[in-house]
Symmetry: C2
Subunit: 151 residues, 2 copies
């Protein structure tokens, strides 16, 4: 994965490239504020459309593999194991940029979404329900039948 | 707050407006999957630029007030109280759209960001550090000195 490009970020550091955590290769993982379960919030944003596709979790291993491979790898809390996005659905995510927030407890991925579908329901984004006058209304179409995705 | 417009969402429901949680006014809050601490992850996205501004938390009261007032209200875990975004900094967020994800454990706000600054460091976004070859590099400029924001 390249650290540059994508997400509308400036092509060059605007501050002269001040390093938050430089040095040995694992230091950047120590800069993340892992929660009590060893996890950090991970947000995937479509690098082309800007749409928020999903929110998931990463443990140290998942984040390290994501950076190394350039493919989004999460930690499934329900299955308690690494979840290489797309391993079953084919809807993998190529990571174009990776960012950390100011208090270190969330990472933001700019991704190229395979198939244009991130959600297990067959929709582009997991955020397909919109608040309207006191209820959640499904406003996004199913692009592909989940039964044909997970077979 | 209006439930329509903003965020590139379709002007009309694409599925005919299937209600996820209709009925009495508090039902929509019950559709949220609150964690053990009674919180849900909340992401603020700039409705104009599409940039992810910050990630925070909401409890039931914060989310209810956000929907009612049209102003982003979070729950500060460090201070253990409601945090009306902008109450100290002046950098409030007008909520143009509110969405819930497929498993109900994250909400996404499309906001108009006052002052164009969401981060307490005086930057537009809290995600100002980018991964580059094994380190986090600060790539976004400080738009306003924090000392002049919090005085």
């Amino acid at each position: 994965m390249s650290g540059s490009g994508g997400g509308g970020a400036p092509a060059r550091p605007a501050t002269g490239g001040e390093a938050v955590a430089a040095g040995a290769s694992a230091d950047w993982l120590d800069a993340v504020r892992w929660d009590a379960a060893g996890l950090v919030t991970a947000i995937a944003q479509d690098a082309d459309s800007g749409r928020i596709l999903m929110v998931a979790w990463m443990n140290r291993e998942a984040l390290a593999e994501t950076a190394r491979s350039g493919r989004a790898v999460y930690f499934s809390r329900s299955r308690q194991r690494l979840w290489r996005k797309g391993e079953e659905s084919g809807h993998g995510q190529a990571v174009r940029e990776l960012r950390l927030d100011c208090d270190g407890d969330a990472v933001l991925l700019q991704v190229g979404q395979a198939g244009g579908i991130a959600c297990h329901t067959g929709r582009e984004s997991c955020f397909f329900s919109r608040w309207e006058d006191g209820r959640w209304v499904v406003v996004d179409p199913v692009l592909k039948d989940p039964e044909s995705i997970y077979k």
